[in-house]
């Protein structure tokens, strides 16, 4: 087994909403190994970004409570004072942001922005920094790097800016790289280019990558291991091949079943009933996905759903996966038919 680089233990991130704390990330445990791409998937509001922000310490601590452990090396990042944490983030742990149009400071040149983390983490002279920056720009596929170095963000296209954001993240050779939906804000052709770039960079380094996405195509192409999150919890975790070939949890199966490409045009596209409950409205007892698969009898769920190793290295939450079926597959043989939402 490869070396673990980041270990998350029972992480809980709760937000203060009108005086009460509600967990957006609810007991997540996850280990990232070196040279591994772990994809975190789930629909909007399932806690993916809250998880990334917890790792990077980007939550506003005035209204966020963080519990559990995020272990990097032999330190728990959650207990680290900010000054020490600042020595790690940007250097050992870096992040690629979702929207390149807003992630760059409009008043600083591209060169300055890529060099900035080096100011704090690497002892380099001005010319060394510049050379390293130009090298980084070339690595992320920017050809006229001399010119871009002097330019301001508004002079670049979205795809170019995302390359710059990636260059910033790579500037100090991170051990762990978080990519929070790095292609969501880009148009499709650029998305493919950026994903190719990420894959290429991943092959060159030993960096462990946490890739947050809701694009299952990206997952299939990039990831080694997939974590499926629903309502703040991990519901399934498996190697990418296992997950796509043998999805277990009803939520994973529903997600995969909702992809138009897997669908041969003979029936209606599968739609998951209902919506992701909001933080305040979430029922935290029992299986959280149960309300959206109402045709599965209550006794098939566990009272306190736990993760089970259903197959070697393939974990799934709750026992409902054992008896789960799609109602449209059994029309005729079962009187229950899902209502369309």
């Amino acid at each position: 087994m490869k070396n673990p680089v980041l270990e998350i233990n029972d992480l809980r991130a709760s937000f203060n909403i009108k005086g009460n704390y509600y967990a957006a990330v609810d007991g997540v445990s996850l280990t990232v190994h070196e040279n591994e791409v772990v994809a975190i998937v789930g629909e909007s509001g399932c806690g993916k970004s809250a998880l990334a922000n917890s790792i990077m310490g980007l939550h506003n601590l005035k209204n966020t409570k963080l519990e559990g452990e995020i272990n990097f090396g032999n330190q728990n990042l959650l207990e680290l004072p900010l000054a020490k944490f600042n020595k790690i983030r940007g250097k050992d742990i870096a992040m690629i942001f979702q929207d390149p149009m807003t992630a760059l400071n409009p008043l600083a040149t591209i060169g300055r922005q890529i060099e900035e983390p080096m100011d704090y983490h690497l002892k380099l002279s001005a010319s060394e920094k510049k050379n390293r920056t130009l090298e980084l720009l070339r690595r992320v596929g920017i050809k006229n790097e001399q010119r871009v170095y002097e330019q301001y963000p508004h002079e670049l296209s979205g795809g170019m800016r995302q390359r710059v954001v990636i260059a910033i993240a790579l500037s100090c050779d991170p051990v762990v790289l978080l990519a929070d939906e790095p292609t969501t804000a880009l148009d499709v052709t650029i998305q493919a280019q950026i994903m190719d770039l990420m894959k290429e960079l991943q092959n060159q380094t030993k960096t462990g990558i946490i890739l947050i996405t809701h694009d299952l195509g990206v997952v299939a192409e990039m990831a080694d291991r997939v974590v499926v999150m629903y309502a703040g919890e991990i519901v399934e975790m498996a190697d990418v091949k296992d997950l796509f070939e043998n999805p277990l949890h009803p939520y994973t199966r529903s997600l995969l079943n909702s992809i138009p490409a897997n669908f041969e045009g003979k029936e209606k596209l599968h739609v998951i009933d209902g919506i992701v409950p909001s933080l305040q409205n979430l029922d935290r007892t029992g299986c959280r996905f149960a309300p959206r698969i109402a045709w599965i009898p209550e006794e098939d769920h566990e009272e306190r759903p736990e993760m089970h190793e259903a197959e070697p290295n393939h974990f799934v939450r709750c026992s409902c996966y054992k008896t789960f079926y799609f109602p449209e597959d059994r029309v005729g043989e079962n009187e229950y038919v899902a209502t369309e939402s």
């Binding site: 990077m56 310490g57 980007l58 900010l82 000054a83 600042n86 020595k87 790690i88 983030r89 940007g90 250097k91 870096a94 992040m95 942001f97 929207d99 807003t102 992630a103 760059l104 400071n105 409009p106 008043l107 600083a108 922005q113 900035e116 983390p117 704090y120 983490h121 301001y152 508004h154 954001v165 910033i168």
Partner: protein, 322 residues
């Protein structure tokens, strides 16, 4: 950049000409003229004589001829005679321009010295006790009319405590160029400057506070934090640079506001500047002086706007015009 400044300066010329026409016509539209003011009701001067003088002075010519003459002279620095003071307007303005510029400059500097740190504290540490105190002060400054505040300051520091003089710009017994003269000038500036500045801070504090609160939630700030930039530097290098943009943009406007807006302060402290002269001239119907002053202040507004544009184009790469 140079080209932009040049072009921006050229645009100013038609603006100033237009303003001067309006100013001239407005002055013409006022009832009566210089002669009515000087000789009306004087039994020794007959209407015919007045008519003759009018003809001689060219006051019966069409407006554009008069305007041409007036502008021609004004460009050469001749704004005509003050009817009240019986001396060239230029003489009247001489020392006063300097006084007003001095007052405005120090008021502006003190305003920023107070407002920028307070705005930063207030914006960075929102909802702390420090922020609450600053916001409260700000509402007071916003709500208090400058003439009320200036009177209070004068009462407190000149009459009750007797620390500072309450009128004029310098002790007239002193000789120009001596150290005592300099000290006296400085002392005479303190109250007018403080009275103006303590009130003028509100817009800068408010702008800065709001903008910092706005900026600190932006994504690029997250990027900076994710780079491991220490919190203090996140503010100085990222948030502040962006938040000072609107302040910089207002600097030019602020300069003109200071020149035109010190009327109250100068009147209350009998400070011999342009504002004080303006009020005096209006109440004595000294039209040639009023016209000259209106022209000067409108030109100041135009120049101030241009300065704002230039400053903004220097600090914000996004609006640099090629």
């Amino acid at each position: 950049m140079l080209q932009f400044i040049l072009r921006r300066t050229l645009i100013m010329i038609p603006q100033i000409i237009l303003v001067s026409i309006i100013v001239f016509l407005l002055a013409k539209a006022m009832p009566g003229d210089a002669l009515t003011g000087a000789f009306q009701g004087n039994p020794d001067v007959s209407q015919e004589q007045i008519q003759k003088i009018r003809e001689k002075l060219g006051l019966n010519d069409p407006w554009y001829q008069q305007y041409g003459r007036w502008l021609g002279n004004a460009v050469q620095g001749d704004f005509g005679q003050s009817y009240v003071h019986k001396q060239p307007v230029t003489h009247l303005l001489a020392g006063k321009v300097e006084n007003t510029l001095l007052l405005s400059f120090f008021t502006l500097v003190v305003t920023y010295i107070i407002a920028i740190p307070l705005g930063i504290i207030s914006g960075r540490w929102t909802d702390t006790w420090a922020d609450k105190i600053i916001v409260t002060y700000n509402y007071f400054a916003f709500a208090t009319p400058v003439f009320v505040f200036a009177l209070l300051m004068m009462y407190l520091f000149s009459f009750v405590l007797g620390w500072l003089p309450y009128g004029s710009s310098v002790d007239i017994k002193l000789e120009e160029g001596t150290w005592d003269y300099f000290v006296s000038r400085a002392k005479h500036l303190v109250l007018p400057v403080l009275s103006g500045a303590l009130i003028a801070t509100y817009s800068t504090i408010q702008y800065l506070r709001n903008d910092i609160i706005d900026q600190k939630l932006k994504d690029y700030v997250k990027t900076a934090r994710a780079k491991g930039v220490p919190e203090g530097k996140v503010y100085i290098r990222h948030i502040l640079r962006n938040s000072l943009l609107p302040i910089a943009a207002f600097l030019g406007m602020e300069i003109t506001l200071m020149i035109t807006g010190s009327i109250f302060i100068e009147s209350i402290f009998s400070y011999p500047g342009l504002g004080f002269l303006f009020i005096q001239s209006i109440s004595t119907r000294d039209y040639s002086v009023v016209t000259a002053l209106v022209l000067i202040s409108s030109t100041a507004v135009i120049i101030g706007t241009m300065l704002s544009d230039i400053i903004l184009s220097i600090v914000d790469p996004r609006i640099r015009i090629e």
